[in-house]
């Protein structure tokens, strides 16, 4: 049997890396089990001529399409939005676009302010020092002074506006609507051993330059130097408990596929909003017949994705296309609740620079915009490099019927039941998306774009996996308490997006990591009586 560790972290992605690094200064023995591999920048798509094609192959955002041995399948047939993720050291930060907004102060008080969903048991002010610490560890580029946020600074200057950003800036100024250079987890200068961005433009399927802040190159080198152990190709099957109802450790499959038991004093879940409920629901015992930490019945429920409405058009000159990080600006013009609208809460726009020739051809052929046959070449030349567009990231309110359960039939390569997603778009989300599409068409018209296209929701747009083990002070209405500890199992913590009470309308990674640092700090403050 393996030696007992003080802290066992399951998952090495955004939250697992942050909590590991923060806890390292306790000098406890900390072990992280990761089902994937260490990634190599020399293997990333931008190194080869097939850089765009690999988005449909071993660097597909969909685990079902990608099908690496380190992936697990997901039954998302009953959802209009499909789950996307990555499994490896760094988790989905390997394959995110590094758009890095924080939640707003109002996001933590949606019930008090807007009468919907629930308030969070923490607030922006509590998290603010952890946002700042995370920005420093991650290496965030941005510009101070954004009126959409309380004052904050970024360690590095923002990404350049470029031609695409400039066109949007003029359009937004003419409309009188808010825009600002995005906080982005991309190094614009040398930073903490990372090289600056050189505009490879293909950020999502991993950064060959190492400028994008995936946690394998941000938190993990520091955590490992501080003594944290990280074992790869170790897939956790279930969490076991002892006669006192405490977690005793986890059963996992080692790299040879042999089942092992890893005992631990504390278990921390960092597997994202699908992987964590999957593992909790797979951890069934006579004491916990409905899955671990599930006395509330809420494990797996309240799944939130952020429905994305994508709107784009074409202008009469080549823009930045794929020759720069894909996202450059945001707008929070429609973020806060406005009683005059027919929906509550709101959304941000993230403005994109464009896409490469293969992607343009594939998207436009699929949409019927690019013909087969004689007209193909002339049409393609009016499209390539000329696309300009944005996505409205809409707040998804929690609904219990949107959920993660276990598939009866589908299993991963180790025979562990796969997660099953049941999800529908709410009327509020649909109205919000319609609003986002209508305003985006005004922006595109102002930017001189024609030939407008819409994808709403983005089918493979389930990047943000939130809410399936939410935090709260009431054990009957939440899974973990206000500092991430399970109400039911007092040495079990959750630090990933599962604990979000509401989703906000922004990309969540910054907030996920700030929460992980806050929970790590809470653990450190309570070490003497952690299980009381």
């Amino acid at each position: 049997m393996n030696e007992k560790v003080d802290v066992l972290i399951v998952g090495s992605g955004a939250s697992g890396a942050a909590v590991a690094w923060s806890l390292a200064d306790t000098k406890m023995r900390i072990l992280c089990l990761e089902q994937g591999d260490w990634m190599k920048q020399s293997d990333y798509p931008s190194n080869g001529r097939d850089w765009e094609a690999r988005l449909y192959d071993d660097f597909s955002t969909s685990p079902n399409r990608r099908g690496r041995p380190t992936d697990y399948p997901i039954d998302d047939s009953n959802s209009p939005i499909k789950v996307v993720n990555f499994n490896g050291v760094g988790g989905s930060t390997i394959m995110y676009t590094a758009h890095y907004p924080r939640l707003h102060p109002s996001d933590f008080r949606v019930k008090s302010l807007d009468g919907v969903a629930e308030d969070w048991p923490v607030d922006y002010a509590t998290l603010e020092p952890f946002f700042a610490e995370n920005d420093r560890m991650t290496g965030v580029s941005g510009l101070a002074g954004d009126p959409a946020y309380p004052p904050k600074t970024s360690p590095m200057p923002p990404l350049p506006l470029g031609k695409s950003g400039t066109r949007f800036a003029h359009a937004m100024n003419r409309l009188g609507w808010h825009w600002w250079p995005s906080d982005t987890a991309v190094a614009t200068t040398e930073y903490d051993g990372r090289a600056p961005c050189i505009n490879l433009g293909h950020c999502t399927p991993a950064c060959a330059q190492g400028a994008k802040a995936s946690t394998d190159i941000t938190y993990w080198p520091h955590a490992i130097r501080a003594g944290v152990e990280l074992w790869t190709r170790c897939r956790v099957k279930e969490i076991l408990t002892n006669e006192h109802g405490m977690a005793s450790g986890v059963v996992y499959f080692d790299p040879d596929g042999v089942e092992q038991f890893q005992p631990a004093e504390v278990v921390i879940m960092a597997c994202n909003g699908v992987g964590t409920p999957r593992l909790l629901l797979n951890s069934v015992s006579s004491r916990f017949p409905n899955g671990l930490a599930n006395s509330s019945g809420l494990v797996g429920k309240n799944l939130m994705f952020h429905p994305y409405a994508q709107i784009f058009g074409y202008v009469d000159e080549p823009l930045d296309s794929n020759r720069a990080p894909p996202l450059c600006l945001w707008s929070h013009e429609f973020y806060e609740t406005d009683p005059s609208r027919d929906f509550v809460r709101g959304y941000i726009y993230q403005f994109g620079r464009g896409i490469g020739p293969v992607t343009e051809a594939i998207f436009s052929a699929a949409d019927g915009r690019l013909p087969w046959g004689k007209g193909h070449h002339a049409t393609m030349r009016k499209l390539v490099g000329r696309r300009i567009g944005m996505s409205a990231i809409c707040e998804d309110l929690p609904e219990e019927h949107n959920r993660v359960t276990l598939s009866r039939d589908l299993k991963d390569s180790h025979g562990i039941p796969a997660p099953k997603i049941d999800y529908t778009l709410s009327e509020n989300s649909l109205r919000m998306m319609d609003h986002g599409i209508a305003r985006a068409k005004e922006i595109l018209a102002e930017a001189g774009a024609t030939n407008i296209g819409v994808q709403s929701p983005i089918l493979n747009g389930g990047w943000h996996l939130l809410g399936t083990a939410r935090m709260g002070t009431d054990p009957e209405r939440s899974v973990v308490n206000e500092w991430g500890r399970s109400h039911d199992v007092k040495n079990l913590f959750i630090v990933d997006g599962s604990i979000f009470v509401t989703s906000g309308g922004v990309n969540p990674t910054s907030t996920i990591q700030a929460l992980a640092l806050y929970i790590a700090d809470s653990i450190k403050q309570r070490l003497a009586n952690l299980f009381d």
Binding site: W51, L113, G373, H376
Partner: protein, 148 residues
């Protein structure tokens, strides 16, 4: 016939349909997708789409009433369009398999005014832009709501 190698007949049909999808152009000085080098890349790159490609070719053959090879251009294009209309899902996959190779061919990439190279290590240059455009936004009152 094996499960992951196209038959000679399928190869001929696939090449014909690729040429119908993207014909060569004198005007734009580009080869068609049935160019030997491009088509070889396409076949080499089918990978995990093999079953969909095979199903697509079977559907096209059924529409055409036999093999496409040797069929005149008008009938070939008509078969392709009918396939696209009747089988949009398969057509999307078949199109992607062709397009992802066609638009990485050196001759084609150059014809679009682009450099035939991977993004790394050279990268690209991006103009900084005029940050004074932000001046009207900087003067806006705060937009975020205080939370109780």
């Amino acid at each position: 016939m094996t499960d992951n190698i196209l038959t000679q007949s399928e190869m001929e049909d696939f090449r014909s349909i690729a040429g119908a999808m993207i014909p060569g152009s004198v005007e734009f000085r580009v080869p068609g997708a049935d160019d030997p080098a491009i088509f070889a890349d396409i076949v080499r790159s089918i990978g995990r789409d093999f079953s969909d490609v095979r199903a697509s070719l079977a559907a096209i053959a059924a529409i055409a009433g036999g093999t496409l090879a040797g069929m005149d251009e008008a009938r070939r294009e008509a078969a392709a369009e009918t396939f696209r209309a009747r089988h949009p899902g398969l057509a999307t996959t078949l199109g992607r398999v062709v397009l992802q190779c066609y638009y990485r061919d050196d001759r084609v990439v150059r014809s679009l005014g682009l450099e035939p190279r991977p993004p790394f290590p050279k990268g690209h240059t991006l103009e900084q832009g005029d940050w004074s455009l932000l001046d009207p936004v900087r003067t806006r009152p705060k937009m975020w709501r205080e939370a109780p």
